[in-house]
Every structure is written in C-alpha cells, then in structure tokens.
C-alpha cells in the first residue's frame, strides 16, 4: 500500500522514523453477485482500493477478488483510527484468521475452522477484536456502510458476543464519510508547525527549551542512525495542544507522565490539556507530534 504522502519520504520502502499515517483502515468487502463471499483487507485509501478490487483501475486488485462471478464488491464496514500500519495489518490478520489468533482467547472463539465465515461471524469477530486488550488502546472506530448490518446484524448478539461495546460506530456510505472527512493533511498541523518554526518554545511541564531546528539535525540515511540519535535524548516528540485556540507546548513524555491515573497500560487514555483543560485526544496529539518530528528529520 503506497502512502499518499510520498512526497516527503524519499525512499518508499523503509521509513526512517515512525509517523502516524493520516488514515489507515481495515475493510470488509462482500461480493454483490455472491453474497456469501467476503474479503478482508487494509488500506490507507479505501475508495481507491475498492476500485482496484472491482477492476476499475488497471493496476492493483487482489487475486482473490479477481475471480469471475465475484465482482463487483461492496464495502460492508471499515475500521479506522489505527495508530500505525503495523497494528492495522495485525488486526487484518487476526480478522482473517479468527480461529487461531492470540488476541481472541480460546474460550471466546466464534470461528473454529478455516471454513467460510458468515457475516454474523465476521461481525462477532470484529467485536471480539475491538475489545481485546491489544487493540483496546487504539480507540478504533467503525464505519458501517450497510444499513442492514447496523440494524440487524450488529445489535444481535449472536455467538454470545455482546453488542454494547464502547466503540464509535457510524453508519454511512464511504463516499459520504470521505466527503466529510477528507484524507488530507490536517490544516491544524500547518498552523502548529509554523508556530514552532517561528519562535522557540519551552515545555510547559518540565520547562526545558524545546529544540525545533531542522538545520541542526543531521541528515540520516539509516534507521539505526536515527535510533542512536534518539537514544541520546534528541529528537524528542514535542507538540502543542491540538485545540486551535490553545498553544500549550509540551514534550509528549512530560504530558504522558503528568497525572497518570490508570496504570494498566502505559499508553494514556484520558488526558486533558494543562492549559486549556480541554480533553486531549491522544491519537491526534501524537499524530501531530510525529508529524512534526518527521518534518524536522526530512526537511532539508
């Protein structure tokens, strides 16, 4: 899956630094002519991917979706808000192999064999995975594109998987969704970036000056070099409160350490800005921070 912002990364394959992609989702397709066939995949751009599956675009399109009698495909639901490509791929793999994944315990298993799964089973597996501790911290969201699923299949707790789980579910078609939330660089990012470039800031929590000078950062060629650099304490993630009116600047670690409530996981779940006291969406915050870091590293 090629990344949409390939302008920044010189090398498409290996990335020097981790950055949260703006959009990455796992989708479930259903064949229109043969409704019992499903396909599970992941992509940063689902609309384009669907076209590839259906053969509208020349390149791409998976082998299994090419078979005659299965095209065209439609999207049943997508899961998004993954923090990294890797985690999305892992989720996809788990959903494709629900009978053996370690994230679903043997007691809870719905699917026991490789055989064909029904939509009910898929939905049940989705529910199970979303509530699994591994994926719990990622705050996934679900977009259901088929109203039938929302009305009947999701609420029915078939396979004894409860349907009341804390997850955001939207129901609308893909196009509608992307109209409302286009996959583009968040304009707020630009604002923050500029703020950093203009003036030097200090972390509001630990009161050390934040380094944000792309000129000082050497040019790296290998990831290991970057890692070494980071281990020295350089290139720390810094960010600002993502609410537009607040400019609270801080180290990411400082904010995370501050007022730690729930120690079940290191990844903080609920944080509020120390300045404006509005709730911070952690994923967004991290997204901005990683983007900033990437910018420093690569803008030469």
């Amino acid at each position: 899956m090629d990344s949409p912002d390939s302008s920044q990364s010189g090398n498409g394959r290996s990335k020097l630094i981790h950055v949260i992609s703006p959009f990455y989702c796992v989708y479930v397709l259903q064949s229109i002519p043969k409704p019992r066939s499903f396909y599970i995949g992941s992509t940063p751009d689902p609309i384009r991917r669907l076209r590839q599956h259906n053969g509208e675009l020349k390149t791409g399109g998976a082998f299994r979706t090419k078979r005659t009698g299965l095209r065209p495909w439609k999207v049943v639901l997508i899961m998004y808000n993954f923090p990294s490509n890797v985690s999305a791929l892992q989720f996809e793999h788990s959903l494709q192999h629900p009978y053996q994944t370690r994230h679903i315990s043997a007691d809870n298993r719905v699917s026991h064999r490789k055989g064909s799964t029904s939509l009910h089973q898929i939905i049940a597996n989705v529910k199970l995975l979303i509530t699994a501790p591994f994926f719990k911290t990622t705050n996934l969201r679900i977009l259901i594109c088929e109203p039938e699923v929302t009305d009947k299949i999701w609420p029915s707790s078939k396979y004894n998987v409860p349907s009341t789980i804390h997850v955001d579910i939207q129901t609308c078609s893909l196009e509608e969704y992307f109209k409302a939330n286009p996959i583009q660089d968040d304009p707020s990012f630009e604002v923050i970036k500029n703020r950093f470039l203009e003036a030097s800031h200090t972390c509001s929590i630990c009161n050390t000056s934040l380094e944000f000078s792309p000129e000082e950062v050497p040019l790296f060629k290998a990831k290991s070099e970057v890692e070494q650099y980071r281990q020295q304490g350089r290139l720390r993630l810094v960010t600002q409160c993502h609410h537009s009116d607040c400019d609270n600047t801080f180290h990411l670690t400082c904010m995370a350490r501050d007022t730690e409530t729930d120690t079940s996981s290191l990844i903080p779940s609920q944080k509020s800005c120390t300045l404006c006291h509005k709730p911070l969406d952690w994923l967004t915050t991290v997204k901005i921070a990683t983007k900033l870091r990437e910018y420093i590293l690569k803008s030469k």
Partner: protein, 746 residues
C-alpha cells in the same frame, strides 16, 4: 391280502407278545414306562450305530487302500462332476472373499462326503482315526457307552464326534454364547479359548479393579506389610507410632512424669538441648486451660477402644500452644490411628470425646515429627484431618511388640498413659499441679535464654497461663499439627504479591505470652530470624482487692491490663527430613499436607514480612510448571532454565508490597472496563512494575506512547542491561496486555 397279513401279525402280536418283541421293535409296548424309555433309547442307539457304521463303511469304500475304490471312482467322478457346479454356484453367489476354512466349513456342512472327494488324503486320515478308535476299543474294556454319549464312534478318548453330538454341542454353544458370530461358533478352538478366558475372569474377579474398589479394604497384612514388619528395626520403632492392640498390653507402665524427673533421664533421645521435659510440659500446657478458658482437647492412645479417632480441635480454640525454645525441636507425636480390624477413621470432622478415646504412644523422638504449617485463619476453625506420621513407610501397623528395649526404660519414664487409669490419673494429679510444677519457671527460663534479645520480652508474667491440670483434662497430646497463630483480624487474607510459594516445610512455632502493660509491646517482625511478634489481645488483670494482700510496689497502676502476645518463629527443623513421611488417613491419599496453594498463600504472607526473595530452587519441577502456568509464561524444558526464568521474573514482584492495596483496587477497576483481561494478579503486578521501569526511561517511554511498533528484541536487550532478564514470550504477553504494538521489521 396285505390286510389280512396285518391282521394276522397283530393277532400274532397279541397272541405272542414276547416273541414279537424281537421282531418288531416299533410296536412294542411295555407296561412300565421306565422300561419303555430305556427300550426306546436302546433302539435309537442301535439305529444310530447302524447308521454310522453304514456311513463309515461307505467312507471306507473310498479309502485308498481299498481296491474297490477304483470301482467307485466312477461314482466319485460323478460326484465330482456335480460338485464343480455347486462350487461354481457357491463362489458365484458369494461375492465377498471367503477364507479357506469358511469355504471348507460350508462345503462340509452341505455335503460331508463332497468335502472329502477332492482330497484323498483327508479320507485316509479320517479312516485311520476310525480304525484307531476301533482298535482302542478292542484293547480297552469299554466304559459304559450307553446313554448320553451315544454310540457310534466311541467317545472315551476320542476326538471324533458323531453328527448328533456335534449338533448338540453346537446348540449348547449357541445358547451359551448367543452373541457369537455364526462363523465363530463352529470353531472349537475359539470356543475353548473363550471358555478358558471366562473361567479365568471368574478367577480374577476378586482382583479386578472394580471389585477391589467396591470391597472393604484388606484387613490382612499384605506381603509387603509382613516384610516391613520383619524388617522393622529397633530404631525405627523408637519413632514408631503406637498402634496398640488389646493383647499387647505391655508390662511397661507408661507414666507421666514431671519435669524434674525428666531432667535426669538422659537416655531419652531428644535432640533438644534444653530440658527434654519441655516437650511434655508443652503438652501439658497445651492441655491446660488457656486464658480464654478453652480447653484444648488432646487425645491419647486408647487401647481399649480403638475406635475411629480423629483429632479435632474445637472451634473455639484456634490456636495451639507450644512453648518452645527456638532451636529446639519440638516434640511432636503422631500416631497412626489405623486399626486394621475396624473401619478406617473418617476423614471428616469429628468431635472426639477425650474421655473416651485415648491413645498411648511412646514419646517420640523429636526426629519424628511433622509440623504442618497452615496459614489461613479461616481454615483453622475446622477440624483438620489427622496427620499421621511415622518415620516408616506407609504401613498400617507397626507392631507394638517390637518396641525396642532401648526405649523401654525411657518410655516408661516419659510416656504418657496408655489408658486413663486411676493410677495414671493419680500420678498426674500428684505430679502436675500448678503449685508443684515448675514448668512455668522452666518456660520462663528457657524463653529468656533463648531469645536473642531477651529484653524484648522482659518481664513476662507467665503466671497467668497455667496448666490447670485437672486430672481429667490432662492428656497426653496427640497433637496433630501446629499452625501459626493468626488471630489478628487485621491480618489481611489478601494474597500479598500474589506470590504463591511452594511448600517449604518450615517449622513454625507460636508461643503465647502475656505481657504486663508495663512493657509496651509492639508488633515486631524480625525478617532475619523470621520472628514475628504480634499483639493479640488484651486481658484484664484481676485485681483482687483484699486488705491482706498488699499491692506490690513494683506493680504499676496501669498494670491492670495485660496484653497477650504471640510470637511466631520459624524454627530450624533439626530432624532429618528424609526420615519423616507423612501418613494421612487413607481417604485422602495426597502426599502434600496442604494444597500447595494454601502453603503458597501462607508463605506468601510470610514473604511479606520477611521481604526476602523466593528461592525457586526449592520448588519441585511440577510446582515450577504450575508457576509458569500461573504467570503465563511459556513452559521450557530443563529445570535450571525454569528456575532462572522464574527468578528473573520474580524480580518484578519484589518490593511491590506497597502496591498491594492499590493492586487490589486496580484489578477490580480493570475488570470493570470493557476489556476482557484474564491475567492473574501476579502478572498484573509484574506488568505494572515493568510499566514503572519503562516510564523511567524516556526513550522507550516515548516509543510506546507514540504508538511506535516496537522491536521486542531491542527492548529485551535493554531490560537485560538494566538487570531484568526476561523471556521473550513474557514480554510478548506484556505487550498484548498493554496494547503495545510489536513488529519484527527493521
């Protein structure tokens, strides 16, 4: 004409019945029915004989020797000609493959002679056998062949059976084995085999598992038992429990003696350094009424009534008393209560009337003791199953007769009574009154000697805890167990650390003292010596306000309160542990006294106090495996490896005592969340510790909170550099629980 002839014959018959008998057998009519039946049998037999003889003669005609066979070959040829058709038909009809023997059988059944036609040698063989039989018959005087055996071929030694008999046999077999397949019925070999097996089964019925389980246990001495008895040494018998039988009443008198006497006796093999009487006194004291006025019932041997014996501590007494010197092995006597003739003692709670049930036993060598550790108060209140120990094997009855001579004298001096005889009671009375006895002093003395910091205990007034020895209430103890006193309610039963440690058999002794309030007593824990002092309760000192009694000047005003203090210590078990074996009432055949869980809990709590690390090398391999399972680690092979892994992992759990209370709350809060976590509390604490470690390092902390997929090996290396050598799968689980993404890409 014919009719006439018939009439004539009938007439003739009538006229001359006797003559006709010989001619016309069928029409003979006897008046006596018995004679009639016999006659009919005879007639039938003769007919059979004739028939068989004719058949044999026909067969003989086929014999190779017989020259006439050639003459008959045509006949045979004809028959042979007929046969192929039949054969073809048969083989055509039966589509499945028939075995040779079944084919032969089929042929034989349809046409016996056809069986032979193909094979001349068979005919010869058959005829040979017949001839042999006939010769034998001529040689030997024949046994009465009439009757059921049937004539024809003689059955005396024969293996030849006539058709009638054969069908009879078959019928009987069919009846006996209705489930046999028809193909099997005709095979004599199989049938005989089956019969043999059946009879064998009948023989084995007694030994079958079911019958054994369902039956009463053996009351005879098995071979092993006998051997054991034979091998029983003098030494062993020193420690032997005394199962007493009625007729083995010794001449010895077991006398309960006082401490003073005891001191002189040096042959007593006590490994105690202090006065050996201490043990007895302990026992006495334990039998005494303790401060709460409860009686601790102790049981001694009974020979007259060896009934089901269980030792039950009454519910009110939740502690045992044992004055012990640290370092001194505690006298513990256990006996086997097993009486062969009677039913096994029940495992259940039984309140024993001490007056009824007695046990006598030689005062055991302190080597032979088992002290069980029990942790939970809650369990204390129940009656525990009897701990039977003996240094010998798990046999039932070490014969009392073989009590060694060595011990005789000593036993006579120190052993308690066998029966609550009057004399014994007298002795008890005389010897053990509060005023005479010096046990109090002894205890005091010993306790002050022994304690490292004697000042701590200070002025202990032990007067209060007296052995009020009623003659009735003093018994020799059959103490079954000692458990650490844990009366305190504030002692939280929460498993601290969640650590479940294994049953290291510690000898834990608890003493109760009363300390006047002049000395403030605080809870004290000495981790090195594993001594623990706890304030248990209070007691009001009775102020006897009599004019005659002038209050002592030393008595403080506020000395009215006396605090009850319990001291728990771990005592070195001096005994050779290998000698001790544990016998339990057979209904619970497990070797462990407690479930490992219980002991772990207990020791975990001990752990808290001591704060030391757990020595995994003391675990057995199975326990190690359990530990692995509990902590969610992937099992590995090799004991050493397991130990090292667990040790490393346990580093995460040390010093997390402070998080206990928070831990408990956290686990509940986590479960309230929508995630389904299935990790144990131990794992929880370990993960939290890991969280703390990672938080301390900015680099790794940042990685995690920014959702960067980690390379676990790198993290493993880093942790190792700090000093936490953890397994990969353990870290994997940690990441799973924490929602940390891991990858292998570089």
């Amino acid at each position: 004409m014919s009719r006439l002839e018939k009439e004539d014959s009938i007439y003739e018959q009538r006229a001359l019945p006797s003559e006709e008998m010989e001619k016309d057998d069928d029409s003979i009519f006897f008046i006596s029915t018995q004679m009639q039946s016999i006659h009919e049998d005879v007639v039938e037999n003769e007919k059979n004989e004739v028939k068989i003889a004719s058949q044999i003669s026909r067969l003989k005609s086929f014999s190779h020797d017989n020259s006439s066979s050639r003459g008959n070959s045509q006949v045979t040829v004809n028959k042979v000609k007929v046969q192929p058709k039949l054969k073809a038909k048969k083989s055509g009809s039966s589509k499945k493959n028939q075995s040779m023997s079944s084919m032969v059988r089929d042929k034989f059944s349809t046409d016996k002679l056809s069986y032979f036609t193909g094979d001349q040698s068979k005919i010869d063989k058959f005829l040979k056998r017949i001839r042999r039989e006939e010769e034998l018959d001529e040689l030997l005087p024949l046994a009465p062949k009439a009757g059921s055996n049937g004539g024809g071929v003689k059955l005396s030694t024969s293996q030849l059976i006539c058709q009638r008999d054969w069908s009879y046999f078959l019928k009987s077999i069919k009846m006996k084995f209705p489930n046999l397949r028809s193909s099997r019925k005709r095979n004599l070999k199989i049938i005989t085999r089956k019969i043999a097996i059946a009879t064998q089964d009948n023989v084995d019925a007694e030994n079958s598992l079911w019958s054994q389980a369902a039956s009463m246990p053996d009351t005879e001495l098995s071979k092993d038992d006998l051997k054991w008895l034979y091998d029983l040494d003098d030494e062993e018998l020193m420690n032997a429990s005394s199962f007493v039988e009625d007729d083995i009443i010794d001449n010895r008198e077991f006398v309960l003696t006082l401490s003073q006497n005891m001191n002189e006796d040096e042959e007593v093999e006590f490994s105690t350094t202090g006065s050996p009487s201490q043990g007895i006194i302990d026992i006495f004291s334990s039998s005494a009424e303790n401060e709460n006025g409860d009686e601790i019932i102790v049981i001694s041997d009974s020979e007259s009534e060896v009934e089901e014996l269980t030792v039950s501590m009454e519910k009110s007494q939740s502690y045992s008393q044992s004055q012990v010197q640290p370092g001194q092995s505690y006298l513990q006597v256990m006996e086997s209560i097993y009486k062969p003739e009677e039913t096994l003692p029940s495992h259940q709670d039984e309140v024993v009337d001490p007056l009824i049930s007695f046990q006598s036993f030689p005062f055991a060598d302190p080597k032979r003791k088992i002290i069980r550790t029990q942790e939970d108060l809650s369990q204390v209140n129940e009656a525990e199953p009897i701990e039977i120990t003996s240094s010998t094997s798990l046999s039932k009855t070490p014969s009392f007769q073989q009590t060694p001579n060595k011990l005789k004298r000593t036993i006579s001096d120190i052993s308690p009574f066998k029966t609550p005889t009057k004399r014994s009671k007298q002795l008890l009375d005389t010897t053990n009154t509060p005023t005479n006895s010096s046990p109090v002093k002894l205890i005091a003395a010993s306790s002050t000697e022994s304690t490292p910091d004697g000042g701590q205990y200070g002025n202990i007034e032990d007067d209060e805890e007296i052995m009020s020895s009623d003659g009735d209430t003093v018994y020799s103890t059959a103490r079954t167990y000692i458990y650490s006193n844990q009366l305190q309610k504030d002692r939280t039963p929460v498993k601290k650390n969640g650590l479940k440690v294994v049953p290291i058999r510690k000898t834990i002794q608890t003493t109760r003292h009363e300390v006047s309030n002049a000395i403030p007593v605080q809870d004290y824990t000495d981790p090195i010596n594993h001594i623990q002092l706890k304030r248990v309760g209070f007691k009001e000192k009775e102020v006897i306000d009599i004019d005659e009694i002038i209050p002592d000047s030393e008595d403080d005003e506020d000395d009215k309160e006396i605090s009850i203090v319990e001291i728990t210590r771990v005592v070195e078990d001096l005994s050779d542990k290998t000698n001790t074996s544990i016998l339990q009432v057979p209904s619970s055949p497990s070797k462990e006294m407690f479930s490992s869980q219980e002991i772990r809990n207990f020791l975990a709590e001990e752990e808290d106090e001591s704060g030391g690390s757990i020595d995994f090398s003391k675990f057995t391999t199975t326990q190690l495996k359990e530990q692995f399972k509990e902590w969610g680690l992937k099992p590995v092979r090799g004991r050493d490896k397991m130990i090292s892994i667990l040790t490393e992992a346990s580093k995460l759990t040390i010093n997390s005592q402070t998080t206990d209370s928070t831990c408990a709350t956290r686990t509940t809060s986590i479960k309230n969340a929508t995630t389904t976590t299935t990790i144990s509390a131990t794992q929880q604490t370990m993960y939290e510790k890991l969280n703390e470690i990672i938080k301390s390092n900015d680099y790794w902390y940042e990685k995690i909170i920014s959702y960067e997929p980690l390379i676990l090996e790198d993290m493993q290396k880093w942790l190792e550099s700090i000093g936490y050598k953890l397994e990969y799968d353990f870290l994997q689980k940690y990441c799973d629980e924490g929602g940390i993404c891991c990858t292998n890409q570089r």
